[in-house]
């Protein structure tokens, strides 16, 4: 796909689910490579395996067969605890429903992944405040999620995802629950993280407007790789 180093390498990956006594093949011997430092959108109809692939790449689920090399690690070789440590060090997640911890403030939510690092309390504070500043919500750091709008919650979730400075950000329909204005702010933020901080971003979406913010659009259909489109930088949402 390019001359850059591969951040994600999916080789012959198959994932099946049992549902009502029936076996559903969600991903079927999928092969895919994604470069470091690029912004990808993963599109496809419902049931095409987008979220399943995202979960496998993020180490949240395991493939039935095939290999996944992500951020220099063969995920099949990692134990449960090993995968947890790998996630903490390499991946930031952004979910459609924001998934902030409701009993913690914005700052405490962002600080949470930093507690898995050897950083001191003062350093954690510095990192968390920087992440919140990056998403423009430092002034709301003591607010609980229910005191924030949907767009603000998602920006806090992005701050949490980048607080530990991971190489890879995986976003599952990050604009799915947002109005257009908030969605554009989130997409702009993701674009900025890619451009300025060289984060590799993989965003699942079925919204063409959101996908236009990415540099590449990967299409999945019935668990198999479809076409790959490359956007011009100018197409990215501002």
């Amino acid at each position: 796909m390019s001359q850059s180093r591969a951040m994600i390498r999916v080789s012959e990956v198959t994932k099946r689910y049992q549902r009502g006594g029936e076996t559903l093949t969600v991903l079927d011997s999928l092969n895919l490579e994604m470069d470091e430092g690029r912004f990808y959108a993963l599109m496809g109809p419902s049931g095409s395996g987008k979220t399943t692939l995202l979960n496998l790449i993020g180490g949240l689920d395991q493939a039935d067969s095939g290999e996944l090399d992500v951020a220099g690690e063969n995920l099949a070789e990692l134990s449960g605890a090993g995968l947890a440590h790998w996630r903490a060090a390499n991946v930031g997640f952004v979910f459609q429903g924001f998934n902030l911890i409701p009993v913690l403030s914005a700052y405490e939510n962002v600080e949470l992944p930093l507690k898995l690092t050897p950083l001191s309390r003062a350093e954690r504070r510095k990192h968390a405040e920087f992440a919140l500043e990056l998403v423009g919500l430092k002034d709301r750091m003591h607010h609980r999620p229910k005191q924030l709008s949907g767009g603000q919650e998602q920006r806090v979730a992005i701050a949490r995802a980048v607080a530990t400075d991971p190489k890879l950000i995986l976003a599952d329909e990050p604009t799915g629950d947002l109005d257009r204005k908030s969605a554009d702010q989130v997409l702009e933020l993701l674009g900025r993280l890619n451009r300025e901080f060289k984060k590799t971003i993989l965003m699942v979406t079925h919204d063409p407007h959101a996908a236009a913010a990415a540099q590449s659009i990967v299409h999945l259909d019935k668990g198999q790789l479809g076409r790959i489109e490359h956007n011009q930088p100018a197409q990215a949402v501002r």
Binding site: L60, G80, R87, F95, V103, E108, L112, K115
Partner: protein
């Protein structure tokens, strides 16, 4: 690594009413455990602290059946008997039945020699000896009714009504202090002579409820017991003679096997509170399912999720247990006052507090184990969907 204590605390307080009710139920349970356990230890202390040289003689028919007064002289003749004294349960009350406390007619000449643990200032003993209608009261009784030497106490004789159909009147001659836990501080002792002479005016000579015996040093106690029982084998009233320890045990268990009964209640309380705590923790875990998925996606391990839920249960139970222990400690005085007549020396021992701590931690561990294991076993994607 566990997420943080702040998260544990916030999770516990996200449903304040539920947490408060759960903590309150643990408080009540721990208070009951401490109180019930103390009833058992008090019974045992009474038995363990009993004087091995003292025996009690009562009617073989039952504790409330009187024996003829002439038995005392015959008991005194039995080899090995050093001293005897007599008691009669009066069963009266002060003003109303809710002011009930124990009163005994006694013989002052032998009572204090028999019970040196009943400590009274010499001048008050002398005042008691010389005034036939006087009485001695325990210090707790004195505090409870604000009685002091010189006061006159009217007692309505429920079992032994006054011949003139009025209250019996007793002048307080002194206040005694018990130096041992199994001789209670809430009893009134008055002159046998006053009791006997007053009742003789209207009816037959009153009998004796219990004779206390002190045996000679080195006496063969089983032999003396057998001799006492043998002495009245063919008399109008056969007797049972038992050690003081056995008498105390029989007295507190005359309504049944109290330790067994109390043990069953205690076990039921622990089981009920355990089920309530498990239910609370399972509901709490269900609410946190999606958040457990988020924490796992951030890199928190299965083990740390296990710890998070377990610590939540331990903090919840620890809080309830701690407050329960505090409540039991703070109320032990009034409870002892209420139960003193039946359970003299009621006092919560450190071992009982220790048992309450162990039970509290045990409930916390068991209640936390099921949700903690569920949280540990949850697959990340499953948890993120909010299904357990």
């Amino acid at each position: 690594m566990m997420a943080s204590f702040k998260l544990v605390w916030r999770n516990l307080t996200r449903r304040p009413l539920r947490s408060v009710l759960t903590v309150a139920s643990i408080v009540v349970a721990v208070f009951l455990i401490c109180s019930l356990r103390t009833l058992i230890t008090t019974i045992r202390a009474g038995v363990e602290n009993a004087d091995s040289r003292r025996l009690a003689v009562m009617s073989a028919t039952g504790l409330f059946v009187e024996m003829p007064m002439k038995y005392q002289a015959e008991i005194n003749k039995i080899p090995g008997v050093e001293l005897t004294t007599k008691f009669q349960w009066f069963g009266g009350y002060y003003r109303s039945q809710k002011n009930f406390f124990a009163q005994f007619a006694i013989d002052p000449d032998t009572m204090f020699a028999m019970y040196p643990e009943c400590q009274v200032p010499p001048e008050q003993i002398e005042a008691f000896r010389t005034n036939r209608t006087s009485c001695l009261i325990g210090e707790v009784l004195a505090q409870k009714f604000d009685w002091k030497p010189g006061d006159t106490i009217p007692i309505i004789g429920a079992l032994h009504p006054h011949p003139d159909d009025k209250a019996w009147e007793f002048q307080v001659a002194g206040v005694y202090h018990s130096s041992v836990p199994n001789f209670d501080n809430q009893t009134m002792f008055f002159h046998w002579d006053y009791y006997e002479e007053t009742l003789k005016e209207s009816g037959p000579m009153p009998g004796v409820g219990v004779f206390s015996i002190r045996v000679d040093k080195g006496a063969d106690v089983p032999r003396v017991i057998a001799d006492v029982e043998e002495a009245f084998q063919d008399s109008e009233q056969r007797v049972d003679c038992v050690t003081e320890a056995e008498f105390q045990r029989q007295f507190v268990t005359m309504f049944g096997n109290i330790p067994l009964f109390v043990g069953w209640i205690g076990s039921g309380v622990v089981l009920a509170i355990l089920l309530a705590c498990i239910n609370t923790m399972l509901m709490s875990m269900r609410e946190q399912t999606a958040e457990i998925g988020v924490l796992k996606s951030l890199g928190f391990t299965d083990g740390s999720m296990f710890g998070l839920l377990l610590v939540q249960a331990l903090v919840l139970c620890g809080l309830g247990g701690g407050l329960g222990i505090l409540f039991a400690w703070a109320t032990s005085g009034p409870v002892a006052e209420q139960l003193g007549a039946m359970f003299p020396g009621y006092r919560i021992h450190p071992e009982t507090y220790g048992l309450a701590v162990i039970i509290t931690v045990g409930i916390g561990l068991v209640a936390g184990l099921v949700p903690a294991w569920s949280a540990r076993s949850l697959r990340c994607v499953q948890a993120l969907r909010g299904t357990d």
